[in-house]
């Protein structure tokens, strides 16, 4: 009996991906394909120290013997790793010294994406690092952050300017041997953001990276490392878009977070990579490894993600709760429509005493999409008094999609308390009719109801992102009901 109203929403399907344009810019690219030469090329381009090149090569040699993981509930044609470019950088002479040297075409691109890079135009309180294909093109607000001793720069720059910090922490949370995609990233990562917040410093503004895949046949392999020293606080935002292209592009990023005693890191993502067209053609393959280590006592790491894009999403932002009294949080909204596939969730590893974790996952599946929550809560024997609460809710829209929940719960401490709850529901016709009786169109009603469904998660996003995320929730589902 899903008739009139639902059909109407379907008719709105033709809304195109808003960020699908291509910037015509000259690029410096590595030869196609993957080999030790490619890795040497990347490393040389970045004037990297020998140890880092060696690290990359170790990863590459290991990767050659690894196989792609198969356990996720995703299906895709084999990825031809030789049919991709592993380095593509907008051509500049020596890299921009200041914002004024950044190619105006690039600045224009980010304006179009709603990410203004000119400091004077930036929303107060958000410092932005923009990564275009493989390299960071601009980091704003550097001056102000430097005064506080906060380091916020591209990974390439950090390798040169703060080699000790990079060497100490790179790979310390996600080792190069971690998994197929993380190992690949370790071998070929091109850029990303680096953040260090010194002891006791509360970073006064949101730090933000905007990732953009532009070039064709290009993989993006950024690597982000954030360290919050004792008592420090930082909130970090990440946004992603890509042009509409028929072929699938690979994105295999690694993010490592380290929180020392009483430090807090809030990491928020709005992932809106190109999801492919309504027939499932094209789109980004998003294989991402994100992990945070709560190393210090009473440290806290909080992941918030809104995943609306990508043809395939494979990511499990996790927390290793090592320090006593540390806290891990994971708040996720994953929306899949058309032929998108998402297999996402988290791992909370309780090692220290009185560690706590909270998981709220909202999966919305529409069209022919599959949406899986996969999560692990593991309590080790020493984790006295550990607590976990997990809430997983799925919403199905239409009868050709799937919503799945696969939690793994492992407890080895009697004083630990683990609670997991999951529900599945649909948007009821009563709710739709009620909203329409009050004058709302069907798509307004769907967007309103879905946003209500996601509210527990969206409220954890910083203000600047929350509004964007709410709109995105509505747009992602357009054409989904029928």
């Amino acid at each position: 009996m899903m008739t009139d109203g639902m059909d109407q929403v379907r008719s709105l399907a033709e809304q195109k991906y808003k960020y699908g344009f291509i910037t015509d810019i000259e690029a410096d690219v590595a030869p196609k394909g993957l080999s030790e030469d490619t890795i040497r090329f990347i490393s040389a381009k970045k004037n990297e120290p020998e140890w880092l090149l060696e690290w990359r090569l170790r990863a590459y040699r290991l990767w050659l013997n690894q196989v792609e993981p198969r356990w996720a509930k995703i299906h895709h044609a084999p990825i031809d790793y030789q049919d991709s470019y592993y380095y593509s950088a907008p051509k500049t002479k020596d890299g921009p010294k200041s914002m004024d040297e950044v190619d105006p075409k690039l600045l224009e691109t980010y304006e179009k994406l709603g990410v203004p890079l000119h400091e004077r135009a930036i929303l107060a309180g958000v410092a932005v690092d923009a990564v275009f294909d493989s390299v960071s093109v601009a980091t704003t607000y550097k001056g102000k952050l430097e005064e506080l001793g906060i380091i916020f720069m591209s990974m390439s720059e950090a390798v040169t300017k703060h080699p000790d910090l990079v060497r100490r922490y790179l790979g310390s949370v996600v080792p190069y041997s971690d998994n197929y995609f993380a190992t690949l990233n370790s071998a070929v990562f091109t850029d990303g953001s680096f953040v260090y917040v010194p002891p006791g410093v509360h970073c006064p503004m949101e730090l933000s990276t905007y990732f953009r895949i532009n070039a064709a046949n290009t993989g993006q392999f950024e690597r982000t490392l954030i360290i919050a020293d004792k008592g420090a606080y930082v909130s970090y935002l990440e946004g992603c878009t890509a042009p509409m292209r028929d072929e699938n592009q690979l994105h295999a990023a690694v993010v490592e977070l380290v929180a020392l005693d009483e430090a807090q890191i809030k990491y928020s993502t709005v992932q809106n990579w190109y999801p492919g067209d309504e027939n499932g053609k094209g789109g980004i393959y998003n294989f991402v490894t994100k992990r945070g280590a709560c190393r210090g006592r009473a440290s806290r790491i909080s992941w918030t993600q809104v995943e609306t894009g990508s043809a395939i999403t494979w990511k499990y932002p996790s927390c290793i709760l090592q320090g006593d009294d540390s806290v891990g949080e994971f708040y996720s909204v994953a929306i899949t429509n058309n032929y998108q596939q998402a297999d996402t969730g988290t791992k909370m590893i309780h090692i220290g005493r009185n560690t706590r974790s909270q998981i709220i996952s909202k999966g919305i599946s529409a069209g022919h999409a599959d949406n899986t929550y996969r999560g692990l809560v593991r309590v080790l024997p020493k984790a006295e008094g550990a607590r976990n609460h997990t809430q997983c809710d799925s919403l199905l829209i239409g009868n050709h999609c799937g919503a799945h929940t696969a939690p793994y719960i492992e407890s080895r401490n009697p004083s630990a308390r683990i609670e997991h709850e999951a529900t599945t529901s649909k948007i009821s016709e009563d709710q739709l009719f009620y909203a329409r009786q009050r004058g709302m169109s069907s798509e307004e009603a769907v967007s309103l109801i879905v946003n209500g469904f996601c509210r527990d998660v969206l409220q954890h996003l910083p203000m600047e992102f929350a509004v964007e995320a709410q709109k995105l929730v509505g747009i992602s589902l357009e054409g989904s009901v029928g």
């Binding site: 009563d430 709710q431 009620y434 909203a435 329409r436 109801i449 209500g452």
Partner: protein
């Protein structure tokens, strides 16, 4: 866009309306005319088709119209989508308002009010303007600020839900108000508050269809005409005295009149 209307035409004119639900005929030829400015009560026993009538007028899916016409201000109402009817001024106060988890009342009401305003060619209200408006109307109906922050109808008591319906009615300023068993689940104090709210809305341009099993609500919302609905048809029509008569005699007299 507001539709072209015929101001000479009655507010609502139902002719020989027949409707099926899941293949079963519930409405079996309803005739009913409500001129602007009047309040009509439709009374009837359980299962007589009262709620079906309200849903058909509001345009709910799942009701198959097999015959008849409904003209609203001279135009074919049945051709419109639910939201178009709502924007054109038809308001249904639900018997059982549905819970919408996570959606705050404030957000819901603002979206609804702005949808209707847009349709009328009026400017949308920003958050501040809306807050001012809603606070005033809410105070009249005893709807607390706290209730507006909660999710729509979620965890509301029966009385709270009905007051919330009355608040929406006041905010959306409809022309034809359909009250579906508004008195059910209300204690006498809550009923008074809601009825006063509804009565405040009475005006020469507005009409009202009060659907009820019991006469009680009609002590507070005085009807101009009373109709008895039995077996999917209007079995009898009369003045306000008919309601009192029914209160005395019950619906038993209509039991045998199967159509």
């Amino acid at each position: 866009m507001p539709m072209a209307t015929n101001n000479e035409a009655p507010l609502l004119e139902i002719r020989n309306l027949r409707a099926k639900v899941e293949g079963r005929e519930i409405l079996k030829g309803i005739d009913l005319t409500i001129p602007a400015g009047e309040v009509h009560a439709v009374m009837g026993p359980n299962g007589s088709g009262k709620s079906t009538l309200s849903y058909v007028l509001a345009g709910r899916d799942g009701y198959e119209i097999t015959d008849g016409t409904v003209l609203y201000r001279g135009r074919d109402l049945l051709a419109l989508k639910p939201e178009e009817r709502a924007c054109d001024g038809i308001f249904l106060a639900f018997q059982y308002p549905v819970e919408i988890p996570g959606v705050t009342g404030f957000n819901f009401l603002k979206t609804a009010v702005n949808s209707v305003r847009r349709h009328r060619g009026e400017s949308e209200l920003d958050a501040m303007q809306f807050l001012k408006l809603v606070r005033k109307k809410a105070a009249d109906l005893g709807v607390g600020e706290e209730m507006l922050k909660r999710a729509v109808n979620s965890g509301f008591s029966g009385g709270e839900k009905k007051r919330y319906e009355a608040l929406q009615m006041a905010l959306l300023e409809p022309r034809l108000m359909i009250l579906d068993e508004t008195d059910s689940g209300l204690d006498i104090d809550a009923l008074k508050v809601v009825a006063e709210g509804v009565t405040r809305m009475r005006s020469p341009e507005r009409g009202m269809l009060v659907i009820t099993h019991y006469q009680r609500i009609l002590d507070y919302i005085l009807p101009d005409r009373v109709h008895v609905l039995a077996h999917g048809q209007i079995a009898q029509s009369g003045g306000p005295e008919l309601a009192h008569e029914l209160e005395r005699t019950g619906y038993a007299q209509y039991a045998g009149q199967a159509a």
